[in-house]
């Protein structure tokens, strides 16, 4: 049997984050929003990190955002081929999240700060689908 490729580090959901990983599996990027101050936040937790209320709701984000910052790693982590971008995307709703920008050249020329990006879902296992981002088609 051929040796399997090394897999990337995969997350393990907790009760507080399960909705997020169920969302990505269903092709949705789910954020939370405070009912009182109406602000979206990330990463998931069952209370608003600004005002502390437990009155929060889960909603489906648009999956659109802009490239906020990144590095291009020239050493490969397990499951990656160098060079690859490790990026932070600022979502339309406000929160920022780490991700990889994919489906484009992994170069500073292509990875222009503030360029519009959109989510793509990458299935890694039965449980885990990761939200990655690619340059938006309508640029």
């Amino acid at each position: 049997m051929p040796r399997s490729e090394p897999k990337r580090f995969l997350p393990e959901a907790t009760p507080e984050t399960r909705h997020f990983w169920e969302g990505t599996r269903a092709g949705e990027l789910r954020l939370q929003r405070c009912a009182d101050c109406d602000r979206a936040y990330f990463p998931p937790r069952p209370f608003c990190p600004r005002c502390g209320t437990r009155e929060v709701e889960i909603f489906r984000a648009t999956g659109r955002g802009r490239l906020y910052s990144y590095v291009i790693s020239h050493r490969a982590a397990p499951g990656f081929e160098a060079p690859y971008s490790i990026a932070v995307v600022e979502l339309e709703e406000g929160p920022r999240m780490m991700t990889n920008v994919v489906e484009c050249a992994q170069t500073p020329e292509t990875l222009e700060l503030d360029m519009p990006v959109e989510v793509v879902f990458s299935e890694q296992s039965d449980e885990i689908t990761l939200p990655l981002f690619r340059p938006s088609e309508a640029r």
Partner: protein, 379 residues
């Protein structure tokens, strides 16, 4: 806290760099024994212990100390700045008399060193690790593209930080790297994580350091010149660099810095010597701005114009820093050691008549900060 407590013992491990013959706990002990000798004390005189990277229980037992007070605050490489702050408060409050703070790390040789596993269910395990970061070179560096865009900073200016610090290291016989380098050399060195080249990233070495603090009143009876704790500050922000509030400024730096200035009553002009923890070349730029030595976006020009270089008006990272002197992983202890040497007048690259040193540490990836104002006079 106004010079009521002093550092009366300070030392690093006998060797620095590559020390495969010592385990990590022995690096703590080697530095501790050197600091105890420096202060003219014996182990039985120590009644307080603070450390990070190892358990306080392990260090106290290994050294045979029976403490009345311990502090295991562990927030990364600036933990020792927080230990100085907490120890000063504990001594002032009468909880203990003589505190030993130790650091030791087999960063390069990895002898007897526990790992730092990230649980897959931790927030960083879920929302950062799946995207392929390989430790600090791909995490600590993540905000810098945003900083460079907003502040108009070039890759050449980022490289200059490393160039200037190598000039300081050239004067230091214990520095790992001492040969002069140019901006071109830095930019031509191996790409690690764009825009960071190898020479913009810290060393990975073995070593340790220890400090001994006691009341200013008792400090007069010690063989060493007292270095007073004139003020301090601390804060934490986030364990995930992707979630820091502002990618162009560290909230923890600002909060720790403001409190350190306020508690010591000094102004920026009073600072003769500055240490800013430099695991990577951008940290001194954030530090200069977040502490208010320059306005937002001005730090790169300030360094480029040689204000922090030998002969400049604000000597910074005079041991050569984590980029050229040494970096075991939790570098904060070495920044404190250099501040003490400068104020004792024993630094290899001595700043003439240095009276006040400001020492800023960082923990995690912009996750935490500790700031200490030290002086060789009661201010």
């Amino acid at each position: 806290m106004s010079c009521d407590v002093a550092i009366v013992g300070a030392a690093e491990t006998t060797e620095l760099g590559r020390i495969p013959e010592m385990s990590q706990i022995q690096l703590h002990a080697d530095a501790a024994l050197n600091a105890i000798a420096d202060a003219g004390l014996s182990i039985s005189d120590i009644d307080g212990v603070a450390t990070a990277g190892e358990q306080t229980t392990a260090i106290a037992h290994y050294l045979g100390i029976q403490p009345n007070w311990v502090d295991g605050t562990s927030v990364g490489g600036c933990s020792f700045m927080l230990h100085v702050r907490h120890a000063a408060a504990a001594i002032e409050a009468g909880l203990c008399e003589t505190v030993l703070i130790t650091h030791g790390e087999s960063g390069r040789s990895q002898v007897g060193r526990g790992g730092f596993p990230r649980a897959r269910s931790s927030l960083a395990g879920q929302f950062e690790m799946p995207y392929g970061p390989l430790g600090p070179p791909t995490l600590f560096t993540l905000p810098v593209m945003r900083y460079m865009k907003e502040c108009g900073v070039s890759e050449e200016q980022l490289a200059m930080v490393a160039v200037v610090q190598r000039e300081w290291a050239a004067q230091n016989p214990r520095a790992s790297y001492r040969d002069p380098i140019s901006v071109e050399n830095v930019l031509d060195s191996k790409m690690i994580a764009y825009p960071f080249r190898k020479l913009m990233c810290c060393l990975v070495t073995d070593g340790g350091g220890a400090l001994i603090l006691t009341s200013a009143e008792r400090a007069k009876d010690f063989p060493t010149r007292p270095v007073y704790v004139a003020g301090s500050g601390e804060s934490v922000e986030t364990p995930m660099v992707s979630q820091m509030d502002d990618f162009t400024s560290s909230r923890a730096f600002r909060m720790a810095g403001e409190r350190a200035f306020a508690s010591s009553g000094i102004r920026h002009d009073d600072v003769d010597h500055l240490m800013v923890y430099d695991a990577f070349a951008h940290l001194p730029l954030y530090g200069l701005e977040d502490l208010g030595f320059v306005e937002r976006g001005e730090a790169a020009d300030f360094v480029w114009e040689r204000n922090t270089a030998p002969g400049g008006r604000l000597p910074m990272n005079t041991n050569g820093g984590g980029l050229s002197y040494m970096h075991s992983g939790m570098y904060g202890m070495y920044a404190l050691q250099e501040s003490v040497r400068q104020l004792r007048g024993t630094a290899p690259a001595q700043v003439k008549d240095a009276r006040i040193s400001f020492c800023l540490g960082v923990g995690g990836m912009f996750g935490a900060s500790g700031a200490v104002v030290l002086s060789n006079e009661v201010i």
